[in-house]
Assembly symmetry: C2
Homo-oligomer: 526 residues x 2
C-alpha cells in the first residue's frame, strides 16, 4: 500500500535520495524507506499545478464539492491501516487518531458544503446606470477567484487533520487552487497513504493530474524551493516559528512576493479571575493540568501561561496543579526532535533564577517521553525577561503571580500575538473581565470563557489565527470555513459580455449563489 | 485658514523645520511655509492614536457613520478656497478638482452607509450544541474587529480623493481605526485644509483627539518612523514603486510585521482584438490618446501598453493615435519631480534601439509640462527587455505589434501584476477573448471591455488592486466598499457572557446587522 513514492502528475515515482521514519515510542526505524523529493520534482510538480490551474479553477461548484467528498471517502476507505501506521509514526494513541481522521474527513465535507453554498465567492454586482449624470456607471461585477497553485506544509502534531489532506489542503482545493504538499518527514507512511487517496480522487474526477502532488522529504532545500517557485501563489504552513519565518522570508524575497499563512507559536494565556479562583481553585488546577498534558501538550493551543492575582486562592490552584502534575503519566512525543526541544525548553525554565519549579510529571521508562512541568514566577520577573514568554512545545506551563488586575492587563498587553486567551471567571468577575477583554482582543484570534483552549471546533465562527507570531498573517484563520479566504483574490469585470463572465456573475446565476446587487444582498441556495 | 501647522491631539502646532510647496504651473514657491513633522511628533501621534483606539473601535455603527458624514460636510464647508488652493498646488484644472471633491465626499458617505449596514462585520454565530456526541459544541461567535491605528500616505495625483481624507482614510475610519496621515509635501495647503475639517469633526463628535493626526513633511525619515512605530497596525499608501517597497520593507522588519497596502505601479494593458480593430481602428486610436493624455496621464490606470496583431488595421489605429497625439496639448504635471521622472522615462523609450517613436504631443511654453508620447515595438523585443514594461507615470504608452493571439497571450502572461486590463472587442472577437480572459485574470484586479481604464468607479463591485507590483497585496482593493476589509481582522468569542460580547454578536442584535447563524445568513437592516 505504501512504497515510499513521491506522487506527481498522476504517477508514483521513486527518488534515489531516501529517508526513513522513526517510531518515537520505540526509537526503531520504520520500513519502508521513503523518497526524498529533489528540487527537480518541485519544478515539475509546480509546472503541472500551473497547467492544471485554469481547468481546476473553472470547475463548477458541484463538481468541486463532489471531488472534496471523494477525497474524504477515499481516506475512510484506507481503513485501519491508516490508523495503525499513524500510531507507529506519531506515538499518538488510537482513539486520538480515529478522532483526528473523523475531523479530517469532516473538514473535507464541510468545505464541500462551503463550495456548494458559494458565499465564499462574495459575488457582487453593480448594474450599469447608463443615464447617470454627469457620467454613466458601467456594469461592474466582482467575484473571488482562486489565487493559483498553493504549497502546503504538513504539521507534525496533526498527521491527518493538518497534514496531507488537512485544513490547508481542503481549503485550498475548495478555493479552486491546485495543491503541492511538502510531506512531513515524521509521518511519511501516513502521508503517502493519504496522498494516494487524493491522487485517486483526482483521477476518478477526471481532473488534470497537476491538481495535486505529494513531495515527501526532510531537507530545508525542498521546502525552500517550493515556496520560491514562481508558479506557487500562496503557502499554508503549521509548525515552528523558525520554520515559518524562514518560509516568510523566502516568499518576501521572490520577484513576486506571495502570502504565507504560517501558524507558528503561541503560549495561550489563561486568566484566573478572583471570584472563579476563590470558588473553584482546586478544580481549576486539576482541569488545567488535564488540558496541559493532553496529547503530551503537543497542541498549538496548549495553555502555556496562567495569570492570576497572588494570594491564598492562587496557592490553592497551584497546589492542586502540583498534585495533578505529579500524578501525570509520561507521554510519548511526536518525534525525537520535538522531545529534545521540549527538554531544552523545560531545562531553561527550571534553571531560570526567577522561576520556581512547581511540579514535574512522572518519569517513564520509554524513549522520547514528555515529563510535564508546571513553573511559577511573578509578573515583574515575567515582564523583565521575554525568554519566559517563549513557547515550549509540549506539556510545560508557567503560572505568573500578579499583584492586581492592572498587572494582569500589563502582562497581556506586553505579550506577542497569541492564538487564544482563556478566561476562567464567575459572574462576579464580569466587571474585571469587561475591562480586560478589549486588551485581550488586540492580542489573540480567539477568546474563550470557562473552558480550555485545547480543542478547536471546525466551524464557520472559528478563528484559529492571531497576530504575529501566532501566525504570520493575523487577518485569517487556518481552521473553520473562513480559511478558504486565504486562497482567494477579488477580480472585477466591467462591461464584459455575459459569455466572458465567471458563472457566479452571470445574470442567470446558474450556480444559485447569494449575491450583493447594488449593495443589497439577494438570494442564495441556503 | 491655513498656517502650516501639524495637527495632533486636537491641536494645531508649528514645527521648527519648514518646507514650502511649489506651484507646478509657474514654478513659483507658494506661501505659507509648512511644518515638517519630526519623529517626536510621530511618536506622540501614534501614542494618542493607540490611546484613542479602544474608544473609537467601540463606537456604535450609527455614531461612526455620522462622524464620517460630518467629515464630508466639513470638507464641503471649506468652499472654493479648497479648490483654488488645490489648483495652485497641483496644476490640476478646476473641473477636475471639483469632481474629485465630489468623489471624496461621496466616498466618505458611501463608507458611512457601509458602516450602518454592518455587513463588513461578517458576524457569524454557531450556537452551542450541548448534547452533541461525542463532544458538545461550544457557543462560537466571530466578528471582524478594527486592526488598530493606521498610517495613511497621501498620493500626489489625487490631492483630495486619495490624500488626507481619501479612500484609505475613509475606509480605515469606517473600520474603527484611528488614522495618522503623513501629508504629501506636494499639496500641503490642500492637505491642511482637509485635515482641519477632519479634526473639527473629531472634536464635534466628542471622540478622543487621537482618532486623527496630520503630519505634513517631506522627509523619508518621517514616513519610515510612522511605519516602524509599534502602535501602527496597518499602512495605506498610493505612490511610486520605490516608495511603496521601502515601506513594505520597513513593515516586514518590525518585531511585529504589519500589512502594507501599497498601490504602486501598473501599465494597464489594452488588447485590441481583430474584429474591433478592423471595424473601428481609427476611432480607437483617437479614444486611446484621449484616455492616455487625460490629466497629463497621471493616473494609476493610465493605458501604458497596447497589444494587437500586426497588420494594416493596427497601422490605421497607430496612424490615428499619431494624429491625435500630435494634436494633444501639453499639460502641467503635478510636481517638478514627477515631470522630471516622466521626461527620463520617455527619453529612455525614445532612445531604445527596438522602439520607434510614433508621435509626441505639442510642446508648450510653461514649466513642468508633459509632452505626450506614443511608441511602438514588436512582441519579441518587448519580451526580451523588461525595461520596456516599466511604468512611465504620465502620458506615455507603448504599442506592441504581435504576430497572433498566442503572442498577445504570451506577452500578458509575462507581465507583472497590473491594476487593469482592457479589451477592445466586437462580438466576433468573443472566442479570442474567451481564451484570453483566464490568462488576463491571473495578472490584474479589473478587466474591462470597450472602455478605457481611466475612471475608477467607487462602488461595491470595484477592485482597484491587483497582483504585485500593482499593489503589495493583491487580495484587496483600495477603491470601493471592499477597501474596509484591509483594516479588519476576525476574532472568535467562545462561550463568553453576553455582556462581554461586541454588540454585533449579542443575541439581541441591537445593531440590526446581517449575521450567519449556524451557516445560514439571516436578516440585516437592508
Amino acid at each position: 500500500m505504501i512504497d515510499g513514492a513521491l506522487l506527481i502528475g498522476g504517477e508514483a515515482r521513486q527518488a534515489s535520495d531516501r529517508f526513513t521514519a522513526v517510531n518515537p515510542a520505540s526509537g526503531d526505524t520504520l520500513s519502508p524507506d521513503f523518497s526524498s523529493a529533489g528540487i527537480d520534482a518541485v519544478a515539475e510538480a509546480c509546472a503541472l499545478a500551473e497547467a492544471a490551474f485554469p481547468t481546476y479553477a473553472a470547475t463548477d461548484l458541484a463538481a468541486r464539492a463532489a471531488f472534496l467528498e471523494a477525497i474524504a471517502e477515499n481516506i475512510l476507505a484506507i481503513g485501519d491501516d491508516l490508523i495503525v501506521r499513524a500510531m507507529s509514526e506519531s506515538g499518538l494513541p488510537r482513539a486520538r487518531l480515529e478522532g483526528e481522521r473523523g475531523r479530517t474527513v469532516g473538514q473535507l465535507k464541510l468545505f464541500a458544503g462551503v463550495v456548494r453554498q458559494g458565499d465564499f465567492l462574495d459575488a457582487t454586482i453593480d448594474p450599469a446606470m447608463p443615464d447617470r449624470a454627469p457620467l454613466p456607471r458601467p456594469d461592474l461585477r466582482r467575484i473571488n477567484l482562486a489565487i493559483g497553485p498553493v504549497a502546503v506544509f504538513g504539521a507534525s502534531n496533526f498527521p491527518l487533520a493538518f497534514s496531507v489532506a488537512g485544513g490547508d489542503t481542503a481549503s485550498a482545493l475548495a478555493a479552486g487552487c491546485p495543491v503541492v504538499v511538502k510531506g512531513h518527514p515524521a509521518h511519511p507512511g501516513t502521508g503517502e497513504m493519504v496522498a494516494r487517496a487524493i491522487q485517486q480522487a483526482v483521477a476518478d474526477a477526471g481532473l488534470p493530474a497537476g491538481v495535486f502532488a505529494y513531495l515527501p522529504g526532510e531537507t530545508n532545500a525542498l521546502g525552500g524551493a517550493l515556496v520560491a517557485d514562481p508558479r506557487i501563489q500562496a503557502v499554508g504552513f503549521t509548525g515552528s516559528r523558525a520554520g515559518g519565518l524562514a518560509l516568510v522570508r523566502i516568499a518576501s524575497e521572490r520577484p513576486e512576493p506571495i502570502p504565507v499563512y504560517a501558524e507558528m507559536s503561541s503560549i495561550n494565556p489563561v486568566v484566573l479571575f478572583p471570584a472563579a479562583l476563590a470558588a473553584r481553585g482546586e478544580a481549576l488546577g486539576k482541569e488545567f493540568v488535564a488540558s496541559l498534558t493532553m496529547g503530551a501538550g503537543q497542541f498549538c493551543t496548549n495553555p502555556g501561561l496562567v495569570l492570576a492575582i497572588d494570594g491564598p486562592d492562587l496557592d490553592t490552584f497551584v497546589a492542586a496543579a502540583a498534585t495533578a502534575m505529579a500524578d501525570a503519566a509520561p507521554a510519548t512525543m511526536l518525534s525525537p526532535g520535538i522531545h529534545a526541544s521540549f527538554e531544552k525548553g523545560v531545562d531553561a525554565l527550571a534553571g531560570h533564577d526567577a522561576v520556581r519549579t512547581v511540579a514535574r510529571g512522572k518519569v517513564g521508562e520509554g524513549v522520547n517521553q514528555a515529563v510535564g512541568a508546571v513553573f511559577e514566577t511573578d509578573a515583574q520577573a515575567f515582564l523583565a525577561d521575554t525568554a519566559l514568554s517563549h513557547e515550549v512545545f509540549g506539556s510545560s506551563s508557567v503560572v505568573v503571580r500578579c499583584s492586581d488586575m492592572a498587572e494582569i492587563a500589563a502582562v497581556i498587553a506586553g505579550l506577542e500575538g497569541q492564538l487564544t486567551a482563556t478566561l476562567q471567571m464567575d459572574p462576579a468577575d464580569e466587571r474585571d473581565a469587561a475591562a480586560l477583554v478589549p486588551v485581550i482582543a488586540r492580542r489573540v484570534g480567539r477568546i474563550l470563557a470557562n473552558g480550555w483552549p485545547t480543542g478547536v471546533e471546525v466551524a464557520p465562527a472559528m478563528v484559529h489565527g492571531g497576530p504575529f507570531p501566532a501566525t504570520s498573517d493575523g487577518r485569517t484563520t487556518s481552521v473553520g470555513t473562513l480559511a478558504i479566504a486565504r486562497f482567494l483574490r477579488p477580480v472585477c469585470f466591467q462591461n464584459l459580455a455575459p459569455g466572458l463572465l465567471p458563472a457566479g456573475l452571470r445574470d442567470d446565476n446558474a450556480w444559485g449563489v447569494a449575491r450583493r446587487i447594488d449593495g443589497v444582498r439577494e438570494g442564495g441556495s441556503r
